[in-house]
């Protein structure tokens, strides 16, 4: 990845544009752009105010509470934290293999999470940009516009999301703060009624997921050059893969490849992730920048998530999704597989894989079994890694002899993607903004690049009255030249 535009030579002489916070992104994101008098871009930085208090939040707690507690770190992907923590605590308990029922119930929960998360992102957060155009009228560029113009698409999004939530509710035991996954296994399996209830609609979910893959493919075909080039950059990647190299979103070994496709490590035991990954810090960002140790901090940054998973696996173990994977990597000579907007296509392939996996698991009698727990020899340390909707999620705990957590380290997918998102934003700023008058439509290009990664900033708080978007143009002397605010009612107004 390139570091061009990370730091300007003479920033004091430049104008500053801030997008603060970035809309349609969970948590707090801010982009600053430094421009000269001719609007030429000299510096672009994505600042993510990463919340670092969770280690303290967890320390001192008994280990068995952790899989439930960590769900409160994030209102967007609580199930991913629930499962990653459970896997870490399995290792801490010395459990090397779950019972078939426990593993399949956890997988079912995880695929439900992938399904609902990807559906929300594609249909409600990304589709307004894709269906109406990147710089289209902001009044229509939202989900209401999608509902008005494409009501059937919006409704599918709501129902896919709802179905995924129902899978989670039935496997986790509750709609929110589920307790289904516990250290060493699960505390419930599916009842016959729950299984029948989920089976009723699963074929529809598979069909709609397949339609969604077709929809993003058509969008690529209709906008081939623009989609392929938008925010494009070369990057290494990392994800979990199964022992045979197939996609596995729940468990496996770590696979990393460089930008040329050369393998850096494969089937690496994630219990020792720190031997291959380190985290760099930069003075201008609170969020760390992970990198592959073998390549060093400058060349070793990488990306995670759907695009990496779909392109780095050897196959997908469900037939419809695997066929779509083959079509994706072959499309236009492989161009979409390296495009930032290829994330959306890959995300829909994964949604299809999740729907197919739910269907297969619902036909497996093990999900109604009674053998729920496994045991092992207690350890001091546990590492759990899962492929969350947004990418690789690492939970690492150390537990003392009193069963209390004394150390916790979490590396979330958005942190893995920190450098990649910065690079994508710089590519877009250079290509679309540099030398032009900055407009809301052009600034949305920046946001589209960030949204492709579907970043989640570990922030579950909210309150009525928050401002979703502020754009400030500041002169070289620091004076406010112009500012536009979009409030909760969707109004846009110039303040200065």
């Amino acid at each position: 990845m390139s570091f061009e535009l990370e730091t300007a030579i003479s920033p004091e002489k430049l104008r500053r544009v801030a997008i603060d916070p970035v809309s349609r992104v969970e948590g707090h994101g801010k982009v600053t752009i430094l421009l000269d008098d001719d609007n030429k871009v000299h510096q672009v930085r994505l600042h993510i105010v990463e919340f670092r208090g969770f280690e303290k939040f967890i320390q001192g707690r008994p280990y068995w509470e952790v899989p439930v507690m960590v769900q409160r770190l994030c209102g967007i992907c609580p199930v991913s934290h629930h499962l990653a923590a459970s896997k870490a605590m399995d290792m801490m308990l010395g459990v090397k293999q779950l019972t078939p029922t426990a593993e399949k119930i956890r997988r079912l929960m995880h695929y439900g999470q992938i399904l609902q998360s990807h559906a929300l992102h594609f249909f409600h957060l990304a589709s307004p940009d894709l269906l109406f155009g990147f710089g289209s009228d902001i009044a229509a560029r939202n989900i209401v516009g999608v509902i008005a113009a494409h009501p059937e698409i919006a409704k599918k999004g709501v129902l896919l999301r709802k179905y995924g939530q129902e899978v989670i509710r039935m496997t986790a035991g509750k709609r929110v703060h589920g307790t289904g996954s516990i250290p060493g296994g699960v505390n419930k399996s599916l009842s016959a009624d729950e299984r029948a209830e989920l089976l009723k609609d699963i074929y529809q979910m598979v069909a709609w997921s397949r339609d969604a893959v077709g929809m993003i493919r058509r969008l690529f075909e209709q906008n081939l050059a623009a989609y392929n080039e938008f925010g494009r950059f070369r990057s290494s990647g990392m994800c979990l893969v199964r022992a045979d190299g197939a996609m596995d979103l729940y468990h496996g070994g770590l696979r990393a490849r460089d930008a040329d496709g050369n393998t850096l490590f494969d089937h690496f035991d994630y219990g020792h992730y720190w031997e291959v990954i380190a985290e760099d810090v930069k003075p201008w960002s609170y969020m760390k920048f992970p990198f592959f140790k073998s390549l060093g901090p400058d060349a070793g940054s990488y990306r995670v998530g759907p695009l990496t998973r779909v392109t780095q696996c050897d196959s997908i173990p469900t037939p419809l999704a695997d066929k779509e994977r083959e079509a994706f990597v072959a499309f236009d000579g492989g161009s979409a597989a390296g495009a930032t907007l290829g994330y959306h296509w890959a995300r829909m392939i994964e949604m299809l894989h999740a729907a197919e996996s739910v269907k297969d698991l619902l036909h497996d009698d093990d999900i109604t079994g009674a053998d729920l727990m496994a045991t092992g020899q207690r350890q001091e340390r546990g590492v759990g890694v899962i492929e969350a909707p947004r990418g690789t999620l690492i939970h690492h705990y150390r537990v003392d002899e009193n069963d209390q957590v004394i150390r916790a380290n979490l590396i979330v997918s958005t942190t893995h993607n920190n450098q990649a998102m910065n690079t994508a934003v710089r590519e877009v700023a250079m290509k679309y903004l540099s030398g032009k008058e900055i407009t809301e439509g052009l600034l949305n290009y920046i946001e589209i690049a960030i949204r492709a990664f579907d970043p989640c900033l570990s922030c579950a708080t909210h309150a009525l009255g928050q401002m979703p978007l502020e754009v400030a143009l500041v002169g070289a002397d620091g004076t406010l030249i112009d500012e536009v605010t979009r409030d909760q009612r969707g109004l846009t107004r110039a303040l200065a």
């Binding site: 349609r24 969970e26 409160r72 709501v158 709802k162 703060h177 989640c456 579950a460 309150a463 009255g465």
Partner: protein, 153 residues
């Protein structure tokens, strides 16, 4: 059978006063059990409001949304809400008005009558307990909600 009255509170129980929504629901559920004259009431909570919550409104006669609020004067404010498009449509956390709008669009009809009970919150940090002030606002909010449900029962 769908309960005619839905009480829906949201927020993160581990983020200080953001817990007001779920805590309100917990207390109100206990209260409703003592008041059969209020009729059947379903109480739901979640971290954040999202599109699928529009489906929870199906078959209701009335709905009360409850959330912590930074810009509501203490202790709380009860207001009737209507379906509306706002910027929260395209975020990970929607407003109740936006959820009503999703209902209206996907059901092709008006949502049931809905109210929002916004309870003043002061601090929202992870791992913090409810503030003393919020505890008092919560008690007042429960009285306001009891009046609301009794008047419409």
């Amino acid at each position: 059978m769908t309960a005619p009255t839905l009480i829906f509170g949201w927020g993160n129980p581990s983020r200080g006063d953001d817990a007001l929504g779920p805590l309100f629901v917990e207390h109100f559920q206990s209260l409703a059990a003592l008041h059969p004259e209020w009729g059947e009431v379903e109480c739901l909570t979640d971290f954040q409001l999202q599109v699928e919550h529009a489906l929870d409104l199906q078959g209701r006669r009335r709905v009360l949304f409850v959330d912590a609020s930074l810009d509501t004067p203490a202790p709380c404010a009860l207001s009737r809400i209507e379906a509306a498009r706002d910027a929260s449509f395209t975020t990970h956390a929607m407003s109740p008005q936006a959820v009503l709008k999703v209902y209206a669009d996907i059901e092709d009809g008006a949502p049931p009558p809905c109210w929002l009970l916004a309870i003043r919150g002061e601090r929202f940090e992870l791992g913090e307990p409810l503030t003393e002030a919020a505890q008092q606002y919560l008690e007042t909010a429960l009285l306001v909600a009891a009046d609301w449900i009794a008047s419409a029962a």
